[in-house]
Amino acid sequence: MPSISRDEVAHLARLARLAVTDDELDLFAGQLDVILQSVATVGDIATADIPPTSHAVPLTNVFREDVVRPSLGQQQALAGAPAAEDGRFRVPRILGEEA
């Protein structure tokens, strides 16, 4: 299987929203390469005729009665928030300068 480059790891980190440092990139690039080469062996026995299993127990949709029931109150929901204002979650700006 292809080995993974430092640039590819930097791209993965961006996709995963991890502001990794240069030192981490050096470390992770080597480690991810070893891990990915090792786990790629799954391809050895995974032939086209085998159906995939996503879940050990067959899943079906689970429904409940459409009735009102108690839930977290506003204060409880906001209790763990890193920042709150006027009874709402306060978040940093979501649009960039160019938007």
Binding site: L12, A16, V42, I45
Partner: protein, 506 residues
């Protein structure tokens, strides 16, 4: 008196509390004192809830005094892995990203424990987000193995296992995604059970890999594990993967097994789990355990499960893939820490800085592996192939259980390794889960029961017993029978061999 209480089994404690020979408050206090004495050296607990524990114990004493009917474990203390939410009590998952988070709700497991009068002492240390096999990945420092404080207690549930071996709690709760209950059980000389997937509710269990995560009981005896199993198991409408079927009769099976007769039980030895990479003392302990099962009347046959060799690589694709998706919720907006919010940075920048600061290296590695495995172009070769291997592993189990009642293997290839030995080598660390992973991928039940000490290093070894889905009681019967025979052969329970822990000084 205190030493007597902390070394008792949960079953004994429950009986003595119910008969008012000892109060639940005395029992809770004895364990809180023990934690105060030794946890500086062990670091099994991330949070001790002294007030909550004593309050719960007082309630049990009042109920018993009033003649109320109480459950079979009422008043018995438990240590709860810090991955299960507890209303009003911190839950960190061993991660900096949730430092200081106090959940507004109880997990179903927590609720069931409280309703049964089980006294929650506190929250136990773990590898961050349950990712690891040594508890070294905790953001709050490693847990030390009470058998040798310089060695790992296994992981991810090292805190839950070490609390038992250090006599800080007679019962604990773990979660098992790839072996995180069974492998710590094996290396600490304690019993650890991964119930059938869907047997115990995942509601309030902070998700790592949703199709694999399963909470279960940990204890020092098979019967104690069974008693705890019946308290936490059962259908829960709050978990869409919860199985709507009666809880397997595990307590009855443990009591039946204790009679010591396994006549007619067919035990399969998995041939894939031996050879290179297995410590000779572990294999000798395993072979002795198999010989004992035969003496108890079991029929022993060898069973080949060829796809099990691919379980480890399949797991290290499936679990990180699900983790990369599950951990996206840690976005610094609704709970947990926030870093870099200086009113100029965007939400995306704050999110990236927070995740960088809040996650440890193993969590970052797995998120990136999962991101890679799920990306277009690589999906078929990695995640797609791993899902096919999962099918093959289920087929191997089906074929095996068509001819045998249970399967056995060593729980983990080696005894407890020194802290630091594998920390820089992820693949070496992953191999600790070699034998435990197949049961997670197929969803069936599996447990580890101590099989004595390895003759070369004097450290505990675990015997893994695997049963078909919803046949959890089969493995409890075998484990209980084996436990009696083992104790008779060794002259004392394995756990009695734990060295005395000195005071709080490390």
């Amino acid at each position: 008196m205190t030493s007597d209480l902390i070394r008792s089994t949960a079953a004994e404690l429950a009986a003595r509390i119910a008969s008012r020979e000892v109060s639940a408050v005395e029992v809770a206090q004895a364990h809180l004192d023990r934690i105060g004495e030794v946890d500086g050296a062990v670091n099994a607990f991330l949070h001790v809830d002294t007030e909550g524990a004593l309050k719960a114990a007082r309630k049990v004493d009042e109920d018993i005094a009033a003649g109320a009917h109480v459950g079979p474990l009422a008043g018995v203390p438990v240590a709860l892995k810090d991955v299960l939410t507890t209303e009003g009590v911190p839950t960190t998952v061993g991660s900096k990203i949730l430092e200081g988070w106090v959940p507004p709700y109880d997990a179903t497991v927590t609720r069931r424990l409280k309703e049964a009068g089980v006294v929650i002492l506190g929250k136990t240390n773990m590898d961050e987000f349950a990712m690891g096999s040594s508890t070294e990945n905790s953001a709050y420092g490693p847990t030390h193995n009470p058998w040798d404080l310089d060695r790992i207690p296994g992981g991810s549930g090292g805190g839950s296992a070490a609390a038992l071996a250090a006599f800080e709690a007679p019962l604990s709760i773990g979660t098992d995604t790839g072996g995180s209950i069974r492998q710590p059980g094996a290396v600490t000389g304690t019993v650890g059970v991964k119930p059938t997937y869907g047997g115990v509710s995942r509601y309030g269990l902070v998700a790592f890999s949703s199709s694999l995560d399963q909470a279960g009981p940990c204890a020092r005896t098979v019967l104690d594990a069974a008693l705890l199993h019946e308290v936490i198991a059962g259908y829960d409408p709050m978990d869409s993967t919860s199985i709507n079927a009666p809880v397997p009769p595990v307590v009855a099976a443990a009591r039946e097994g204790a009679n010591g007769d396994l006549t007619g039980v067919r035990v399969g030895v998995v041939t894939q789990f031996s050879g290179d990479g297995y410590q000779p003392g572990v294999l000798r302990s395993f072979e002795a355990a198999v010989a004992q099962l035969k003496q108890l009347g079991a029929e022993i046959v060898e069973v080949s499960c060829p796809s099990f060799d691919y379980a480890l690589p399949a797991y290290y694709l499936i679990a990180p893939s699900e983790a990369s998706s599950n951990l996206a919720r840690f976005d610094a907006m609704r709970y947990g820490i926030r870093v870099g919010d200086d009113s100029t940075r965007s939400a995306e920048e704050v999110m990236s800085l927070t995740r960088e600061a809040g996650f440890g290296p193993e969590v970052k590695r797995r998120i990136m592996i999962g991101t890679y495995a799920l990306s277009s172009g690589y999906y078929d070769a990695y995640y797609g192939s791993a899902q096919k291997v999962r099918t093959l592993i289920s087929r191997d189990f089906e074929a095996a259980f068509a001819t045998v009642d249970v399967l056995v293997s060593p729980t983990t290839p080696t005894t407890a390794f020194p802290i630091g030995e594998r920390a820089g080598d992820p693949m070496a660390m992953y191999k600790a889960d070699l034998c435990t992973i197949p049961a997670n991928l197929a969803g069936n039940a599996a447990m580890s029961v101590p099989s004595g000490l390895s003759d070369e290093d004097g450290l505990p070894v675990g015997l893994q017993i695997m049963a078909p889905a919803l046949q959890d009681h089969r493995m409890y019967r075998v484990a209980a029978a084996y436990e009696v025979a083992r104790d008779a052969a060794l002259g004392a329970p394995v756990i009695q061999g734990v060295p005395q822990l000195a005071g709080a000084a490390r």
